[in-house]
Every structure is written in C-alpha cells, then in structure tokens.
Chain length 369, copies 2
C-alpha cells in the first residue's frame, strides 16, 4: 500500500468532507493544511516543532531542490525524508509553478520549459519526464504532474491552449512515472473559465490519477471569483479522490474551500508573514512588531496552546523582532503554523459534528480579514 | 540563601577545582561555561534547547537590554528570567565593556560614562550607581561591578589609573547595590602588569565580594600572555570565591583557564562562529559551508549526542547554510553550545578523577586550533 484515500463522512449541508489518506509514511486526516518547506525545511522550524504544531504532511518544492542542493544529493542521502529528518508524508510540487513565475527567464514549448536559474543564471530544461524523474529521486509520497499555470487575468484562448498543454503533459507524466512508493496527482487548470475547468476536470479524471490538484487559483483574482470557480468545478471532479487547492492557506480561504469540497491545502503564508512580524489570531492578523505591543505581556493569542503562547509574551516577541533576533521569527512561525493546523482540526471537528456552517458564522463574526 | 559557593575538590597537580554555586534559580556546577544571551536570547536558541545542551547559567548584557527593550520593560515583565522564559540562573555584565567598546561614541569621567547609543545615536549616562540600578531591575542572580576595561596594548600609567578607577567604582557599586536576591561580583583589572593585577586583586578582595570577575583579558593579547597573567594573578585572589574569566570560551582557553584556577567562563564564540557556518569538533573547527561537505552524510561530530548530530548530516546542514535557511544556523548553534558544555562536563569529570593533566594532553594531541 503506497496510497489510499477514504471519505469518512460528507456534510449534509455543504460539500465539506472528512477523509483519511494512507501513505507509507503514515496517515493524513483531511481536510488538511500542509506547511511549505520550500528548500527542504519549513522556514525556521525543526521537524519536531512541526509535529508539535500538528503537521501531518508537508510540501517541498521540486524547482528549488533540483537547483540546490540537487536531487542527486538528496537521492544519495536516502531521499528527502531522511535528508531533512522528516518521517511523515511529503508532497512535492512539479516545479512548474516556480518556473513559470520566473517570467522572462523561461521559455515554454510543447516539449517543456527552458529556464535560467534564479541563483546563478545557469540554463536548464525541465519537461514532464524530467519533473517525474526528479520527484522520484526526491522520494516524496505524493508527486504532482508538470502543468502550466496561466497568469491572471488570461484570455480565453490562451487559457484553453494552456489547459490543453497541461493535459498533454499530464499524460506524459503518467507514462513516465513508475514508482509504487509515490502517488502521482494530476492538476486541473482552466483559469477562471467554467467550461475550461470542466473540460480539464473530465480529461484529467479519465486518466484516473489517485488525486487531483486544482492549479491556477489564488493568482491575483478576487476571492469571490475563486470561490465561484471552486463551486462550479468541484461537482465535476471525482468524488473518491482527494482534491488539493494549490497555494491557498489564509484562514477564510481554508473554511470556504472546505465547504466547497477541498481536502488539501498548502501555503507559505503562515511562515512568510511570521518572518515579517505578523501573527494570526481568531480576530485577524496582528502586526506584533508595532509599538503598542512593547508593554503587552499577554501571549499572542490568550488560550492558544502552542509553544509560543504557552511561554512568551507579545512584549518579548516584539523585542526579539525589533532586535532582529532569530528566536523572534521562530516564535511567530511556530504560532502561525500551529494556528492554521489547529483551525483545520476545528474544521474537521465541525464536519464530524455536522456544524461547519455554524462554525463558519461564528468564525467570521470574530475574524477581521 | 541567594548565593553560596563551595569548593568541593582542588586538583593535586594544578589549581583546577570543582565547586558548586547555589542561587535562588538553582545550582551551578563549576567550572562552568555560560552561553551568552546578549539581547535576552542566546542567538537562535530557545531556553529548552539550552537546557538540553546542558546550560546551567547564561549571561545577558546590561548595555543592550538597557537600550532595548529598556530595563523598565523587563522589570514590568517580572524580571529577565520571566521575560525570556529562562528559569535557571542568569549573570548580567555591568555594561562597561560594551560601552568602552563604543570608542569615539563615549567619554569616561570619574563620575561614569557618557555615551551615544549604537542604535539611534541618543545620549546616555551610566555610572556605577546606574549600572547597579539597571541590573537590579533586570533581576539577574549575579550582577557585575561597573569597571573600566583598558585596551591592549595599554601603557603602565594608563592601566594603573584605570585599575584605580575600577576600584573606586567597585566601592560605589557596593554602596549602591542592595538586593538580597542578587550577588554582586567585583572585577579585577590591571592589564598585563602583574603588580597592578595583584594590587587590584587585594583591593577588590578587601571589599569582600561574593565572587570576582577577571576583566581585561582576551582583548587582543597573545594567548600565552593571558595564561601567564592568570598564573601570576590567581594565587592572589580569594580561595573561597568563584573566579570568572570574562569573555573567554575557546576550547583550549577553557582547559588552560581551569588548570590555572578559573571557575566560570562566558563567550559569544560558539554562537557567533555557528552563524558563519563554522562548527567545533574535538579535532578543531570545521567550515561546514565548504564544498567538501556537500555529499558528506556523517553528523558534524560522529558520536556527539547533541540534537543536531543525532538527526542531521553535514550535507543537509551545508545545504541549509548555502540556502540561508535559519534552521542551518540553529543546528550549528546547538552543536557548538553543546560542544563547549560537554567539554566542560568532561573537564569536571577529569578534576573529579584527578586526571585533568592527562585529559589536557589527550585533548591537544587531537585538537588543531
């Protein structure tokens, strides 16, 4: 058994569902939030701290690891789990999104993408086959198909051609991928166009991947538009496969995504804003660096059970951030990652007790963006 | 009982001795190495990690805390222990050394020192009385007298006048200090001049402080000269008080200092070099950032029981350092601090079994600078 997904319960009043993913590196309760470890480390945190925060799976980035330290070094280390000392499941992205984000540094053809490294300008080629080879070397539990992610806004024709290319690449990925230890997910594209999304969902669905990413959202469009795309798309996706909304992780989007049937999320948001001195609370974000916190001896969020809130005050954390001490961004990162993972636990509990709509109403009554 | 020092054993073939310091925040076995938490944090580490590394006491810097966040904030937080979540003993320096290191930004008079903040250029005055007030607000277990630390080299007359000033300031410190919770240590000065050191030791000794710092060493002089000064000075210091060699912490200096009768050390060395990608081993320092370590899957020091060596390879740590990931300098800091604390445990064990000279011989046979 390398990968198995089971839906345990579907809500009666929304598309939200409770499930479980089984992998060789352990179980994952869904819906799940995956902290991002871009360069084989979730920034500032140890694996032990991630486990304490409640992380059941993390994501790592193929593009970054391919360039540095190189997938051959990670393979020689015995795979990514062993290299980074993380024994729970790992999902790797395909590298596509990062490469397309390089802008002028890359050129897309039918074959794949030629690009220049953001590190040293060196020239590289990655296509669907190369992405599969690299991800198999990394040894993640879940690999993602190599896709093209259109920008926002993008016109209909460009988006249609892009989704077609993603489909052809998905077939090539499936052909090349041959690891019984790793599940390969397809990625649905189609931009903001419902018919293109639907076509993509059916085409990918026919390839019978064990799970599906939804790419090309949270790329600059208004949130209501993203929610609308999800509402229209998800009924056309397989019921028995996990659905992974890529790159999304703000608290409001987690709730709205789960309600529309999303099982998996990832986002750099909690660790990125933590490094800029912003912390997440049930009332919204706090810029803990600011002066009003200088003599505030409460924890970031009273009642929060994370390591940071159990042991440190806002005043101390503010001091560390102002003094540019590493411990400051460690403590904010721990809090933010724990916050999202605890929120997801609460969401799962609300699905279990069939009270997710009440949970949402209560959450948004308190939460200020 | 706020402070008590007991000598448990003195070596038969050197001045090395085993002792114990009792404070309100717990026991300290001596000889002891104190990691430095300049800004109310030992850089990159949590208190829990320091405890795991074996730290029994840490040092924090009065000058830095006075400027940021301000000792009144730390007092309002309930003292430095509570502010930074460290429940074991803390020693604070007097601020003197940092202020004198400001160079042109300060002006010394009989009264004290006027200086400009390195942070914002604002003007401040700290004299012996102010240093005592600040350290009492911080609530450390051991406070240090406000002293003047002459540079190296310094001529005889300057050094003599400076040591006299330090003595007058020590008396003023003693007069102002009035905390039964905090022990105040005097500081012996006198540069590289044996007679001045001797005079300083006797003068300070008469003031009957519960412990003594040795200041003005490791300021640029050759190590053999420092060892010579210690050898000449220590017989003139009180036997029943702990002797603290300030700002010294390289492995060779710890061994040589203990042999000459030193009980306490502090140094930023382990955490500072860790942040530059250098790690300590029994064979000497390794620049783990370097290319040869890219595919080296051993721990930093095989057999080392620190968190870093138990879980991570040189190749992974090198990758993190090259990628400028915070976890990299966390792991090197944990290793280096543990390395020095374990070395000190071994030194204590060697004193206990009366084998310190053999230990030294064996250590230096393997150790390359």
């Amino acid at each position: 058994m390398a990968f198995k997904f089971s839906v345990l319960k579907t809500a009666s009043d929304s598309r939200a569902r409770l499930g479980i993913i089984e992998t060789n590196h352990g179980l994952i309760e869904t819906p799940v939030f995956m902290p991002v470890g871009t360069q084989a480390t979730v920034k500032t945190m140890t694996p032990d701290e991630l486990v304490d925060a409640g992380a059941e799976i993390i994501l790592s980035n193929t593009y970054h690891l391919y360039l540095r330290p190189g997938s051959e070094i990670i393979k020689a280390a015995g795979g990514l789990h062993k290299f980074m000392n993380w024994s729970r499941p790992i999902l790797t992205d395909s590298g596509g999104f990062q490469i397309f984000s390089l802008g002028k540094l890359r050129n897309i053809t039918e074959e794949g993408v030629v690009f220049r490294s953001h590190l040293d300008g060196s020239k590289h080629f990655i296509g669907p086959e190369e992405s599969m080879e690299i991800q198999m070397e990394l040894g993640s539990d879940i690999a993602m198909a190599f896709d093209e992610c259109p920008p926002y806004p993008a016109d209909y024709n460009y988006t249609r051609q892009s989704a077609d290319l993603t489909y052809r690449w998905a077939k090539r990925c499936k052909t090349r991928h041959n690891s019984s230890e790793q599940a390969l997910f397809g990625i649905v594209q189609g931009g903001m166009y419902h018919d293109l999304r639907r076509t993509s969902a059916y085409q990918l669905g026919e390839l019978d991947f064990p799970g599906y990413g939804i790419g090309g959202l949270s790329v600059g469009e208004p949130k209501p538009l993203m929610y609308e795309v999800l509402s229209e798309l998800i009924p056309h996706m397989p019921e028995d496969k996990p659905r992974y909304l890529m790159g999304v992780g703000s608290p409001d989007c987690l709730i709205e995504g789960v309600l529309r049937g999303i099982d998996m999320f990832d986002c750099v948001l909690p660790t990125r804003i933590a490094r800029h001195g912003t912390v997440m609370t049930r009332k919204g974000n706090l810029t803990i660096r600011d002066r009003p916190f200088a003599k505030d001896f409460q924890p970031i969020e009273p009642g929060c059970s994370c390591y940071t809130c159990k042991n440190y005050s806002r005043a101390y954390i503010r001091h560390l951030l102002k003094a540019k001490e590493v411990l400051g961004i460690r403590l904010t990162s721990i809090h933010n990652v724990t916050f999202l993972l605890h929120l997801m636990e609460d969401i799962r509990e609300a699905i279990r007790s069939d009270t997710l709509l009440e949970f949402r109403a209560k959450f948004f009554a308190e939460y200020a963006g």
